[in-house]
């Protein structure tokens, strides 16, 4: 490469800063999949609920989803800020998929927000459909994007992408059931516990099917995860799912929620870890090739170190103000 007189004269303040940013990008993605994941789950489980239960679910979901969705914006912009070439490649390569994700998020957001605006059955029906459809399609399309990114696939629609899409849909259902178990009481809560157990078993099944498909059907992308990495991922997934089911049975709701978060963690770590050292496998770009200059990365780091703790503070505050069971009248 033609690098660069000026680059050699400036160094990263921490030698592994580009790798730390890679980790940060995926941590933000993980936070998004976790937080908006339970919103998506609420939206999907909503399809199975009746009138009063729906009001309760909206009351649980209403105050927090907007803040959760911001993690997607943060993910996009930190990827742009640290690895602009990857951002440009990924988004232009999977052009229509990006717009499909955005359209799904629009359906979800508009559906939930506009429902309360008019008191007519027809209006509620239209908004509810929009809410459920958006909440189902968004994690599915996100999974497709993540799979295509990870395996460096040029074609947008393929078996691996669909499998990972279904995986994120299942994960979101479990997350949503866990969140609603904490936020509700009575029959609805019992139903959510049951869906949570079913969903966890489903998630393990879809995980195994996905990994089997990738191993057998040769996704055509790279780098292929090693057997050891795959074994750790399977082991972690089964362990967290089992822990979750036990906690769920014992009605330890927060323990169950932590186990579900563990499932999301295994997913994101597997995704990122097995991609290394590439950050854009399809373009054969490594972290060091794609990362911005030391000056830009240092500025980004200063801002991130200052503001990410504040952001975590906002979330602690928001969730503690709206802690406790949600009741239908609140929304």
């Amino acid at each position: 490469m033609t690098e660069l007189v000026s680059m050699s004269s400036v160094q990263y303040p921490v030698e592994s800063l580009p790798e730390l940013w890679f980790a940060f990008v995926f941590a933000v993605l993980g936070a998004y999949l976790l937080l908006d994941g339970f919103d998506f789950g609420v939206g999907m489980l909503y399809a199975r609920a009746d009138g009063d239960e729906r009001e309760t679910m909206h009351a649980a979901f209403g105050p927090v989803w907007k803040a959760n969705e911001v993690w997607l914006v943060l993910f996009g912009t930190v990827l742009f800020a640290a690895f602009p070439a990857v951002y440009a490649n990924l988004l232009s390569r999977h052009y229509l998929l990006i717009f499909a994700i955005l359209a799904a998020l629009v359906l979800r957001g508009i559906g939930s927000k506009l429902r309360e605006e008019r008191d007519s059955d027809r209006w509620h029906r239209v908004c509810d459909r929009s809410f459920v459809a958006g909440s189902t399609l968004a994690p599915f399309f996100l999974g497709m994007l993540v799979a295509n990114w990870r395996f460096g696939l040029e074609s947008t629609v393929n078996g691996t992408a669909i499998a990972v899409g279904l995986l994120l849909v299942t994960l979101s259902i479990v997350l949503g059931a866990s969140f609603l178990t904490i936020k509700t009481r009575g029959d609805l809560r019992r139903t959510m516990r049951r869906y949570g157990r079913l969903g966890s078993v489903g998630y393990v099944a879809v995980s195994l099917a996905t990994i089997g498909y990738i191993a057998l059907a040769e996704p055509g992308g790279s780098p292929v995860p090693s057997t050891a990495e795959t074994a750790v991922a399977i082991g972690g997934t089964i362990a967290f799912a089992a822990l979750g089911i036990v906690a769920n049975r014992r009605r330890q709701d927060y323990g169950w929620a932590l186990s579900v978060a563990g499932l999301a963690l295994v997913f994101v770590v597997f995704l990122a870890w097995t991609m290394l050292p590439a950050v854009d496998p399809a373009a054969a770009l490594s972290i060091r090739e794609a990362v911005v200059s030391p000056v830009a990365l240092t500025v980004n780091s200063v801002v991130a170190v200052t503001f990410v703790p504040l952001i975590v503070g906002y979330f602690v505050l928001l969730y503690s103000v709206f802690s406790g069971p949600a009741t239908a009248g609140d929304y």
């Binding site: 969705e69 911001v70 232009s92 801002v303 103000v321």
Partner: protein, 487 residues
């Protein structure tokens, strides 16, 4: 055949043109919601603080009404704003690669500093009135407004860099030329930033003030004694008077800065093709033929000129200063018609707002606005015009920079995604136009619903049957008792 915008009809499906149209449609609609947050934020803080300080019912009503509008606008702003960030990657991938270090940073700062703040505390503002102490509720409204302002700040940092790029050098990386950040302070605080920021925030405040004034005028017109809406009306008129006058003076200075830093944009604003000294300013320009709409030049317009004033303005006082004409530049001109007419609409509206402000100030001094039908009607008709001025002003800024996406560094055509098919680009253009159009229409429809239900609260059922017209004004006397219990 060339359109007024300089694009051939035959190229409608060209992916670059479709991508630009998509960005233009998306931004035109998003900017309304963004400006709504910026402009309404300070009003919300005022209403919340007054509510807590005075305990008066009228501020509770105003807070409730405008918090609903704000929340709806915020959701629409999020829905229409998230895709915009992603469109840098989908449709302007080459630009994103070249300018990632300079644009990606500010966009991520916006997310970190502004969006989380706004989204988290809006939850409290909307649903937390009974859950948090009063002082904290007031603080939350302040954080929501601060979030909106910080968001605008970082977006304008990125945009100002595209107008007057500084603090970078062009280097080779991986076989491509990219802009590398060398001096963060210079890159973030470019010469354009203070002008753009002040002008844009003022425009947002004026837009929202006019909308509030229009809504308040509507209620006052139908119920002259509504304490709630007379309060809102007085506040809006005072803000309008101050801000509209400020904006005219600031805009004048800003235009001089543009003449210095982007002379071809200034020339397009004045449709000045030949370099001249002692250039005239076309205060009012009326097209005398269809051609003049499409291709404005001094000779085919009916204009009222102030001799030498363009030179005088551009130079900051020298009536014989030289204005560089568009023909002097060795690259394509921006679409002159769009810039020229947008600029005239913006400036014309700006003077109308000053007129409204002064008129309202006079009415206030003379003992009340509520008695003047003519003034109330003028305010109602002007409710959306602030946003019109803001959007046309944004066209001057963005279209006037063409053919550059980064002034003097990268052309817009070079910044577009390579290899995008016209089918993909057309499909997304249609989708974006449909979704954004629906978002805007839904927003307007729902605000109309809010206004209707507020009107039902103001007027007793017997008086509420006349929709508008002269009768409703006198009917509203019957509503006095209901409204008398405002405070």
């Amino acid at each position: 055949m060339t359109t007024p915008f300089g694009w051939g009809w035959t190229n409608v499906l060209d992916p670059v043109v479709a991508g630009r149209a998509q960005f233009a449609v998306a931004l035109t609609i998003h900017i309304i919601f963004a400006a709504l947050s910026v402009g309404l934020g300070p009003f919300l803080v005022y209403f919340v603080v007054q509510e807590i300080r005075t305990g008066k019912q009228r501020y509770v009503r105003l807070r409730e009404f405008f918090t609903k509008v704000f929340a709806l606008g915020f959701v629409m702003g999020t829905v229409t704003g998230i895709p915009l960030g992603f469109m840098f990657g989908t449709n302007f991938a080459s630009f994103s690669r070249v300018a990632g270090e300079l644009i990606g940073g500010p966009l991520s700062f916006e997310a970190k500093m502004a969006f989380f703040l706004e989204a988290a505390f809006l939850g409290i503002l909307l649903y937390g009135r009974e859950r948090v102490p009063e002082w904290f509720y007031a603080l939350s409204s302040g954080f929501v407004a601060l979030g909106a302002w910080l968001s605008a700040f970082w977006i304008l940092v990125a945009n100002a860099w595209m107008q007057t790029p500084r603090g970078y050098e062009l280097v080779e990386r991986g076989g491509r030329t990219v802009a590398q950040l060398t001096d963060p302070m210079a890159a973030f605080f470019t010469p354009r930033l203070p002008w753009l920021f002040v002008h844009m925030q003022s425009a947002a405040i004026i837009s929202v003030t006019l909308a509030i004034a229009g809504i308040a005028a509507y209620f006052v017109y139908h119920n002259r004694d509504s304490e709630v809406w007379n309060t809102a009306l007085r506040a809006a008129v005072v803000v309008l008077l101050v801000m509209s006058v400020f904006q005219v003076f600031h805009g004048d200075l800003y235009a001089r800065h543009v003449a210095d830093t982007q002379p071809q944009k200034f020339a397009a604003m004045e449709a000045q093709y030949e370099t001249s000294t002692g250039a005239d300013l076309h205060v009012i320009a009326v097209p005398t033929s269809v051609d003049a709409l499409d291709d404005p030049r001094a000779e085919n317009l009916f204009t009222i000129n102030i001799p030498n004033l363009a030179s005088f303005l551009a130079s900051g006082g020298d009536p014989s200063a030289e204005i560089t004409g568009l023909n002097e530049f060795n690259y394509d001109s921006p679409p002159v018609a769009l810039v020229f007419w947008s600029f005239r609409i913006m400036v014309g509206l700006g003077f109308w707002f000053v007129g409204l402000g002064v008129w309202g100030g006079y009415r206030l001094l003379r003992g009340g606005i509520r008695a003047s039908d003519r003034y109330l009607i003028a305010l109602m008709c002007s409710a959306p015009l602030g946003f019109t001025a803001l959007i046309t002003g944004w066209y001057v800024t963005e279209v006037g920079r063409q053919p550059w996406i980064i002034q003097g560094v990268l052309r817009t055509s070079e910044g577009a995604t390579i290899g995008l098919s016209s089918a993909e680009a057309t499909l997304s253009l249609l989708g974006v136009a449909a979704v954004y159009g629906t978002a805007l229409v839904t927003f307007c429809y729902l605000v109309r619903q809010y206004v209707r239900s507020e009107r039902e609260r103001l007027l007793p059922p017997t008086a509420g049957d006349g929709d508008s017209g002269p009768d409703s004004g006198s009917n509203s006397d019957a509503g006095q008792q209901v409204v008398g219990s405002d405070d």
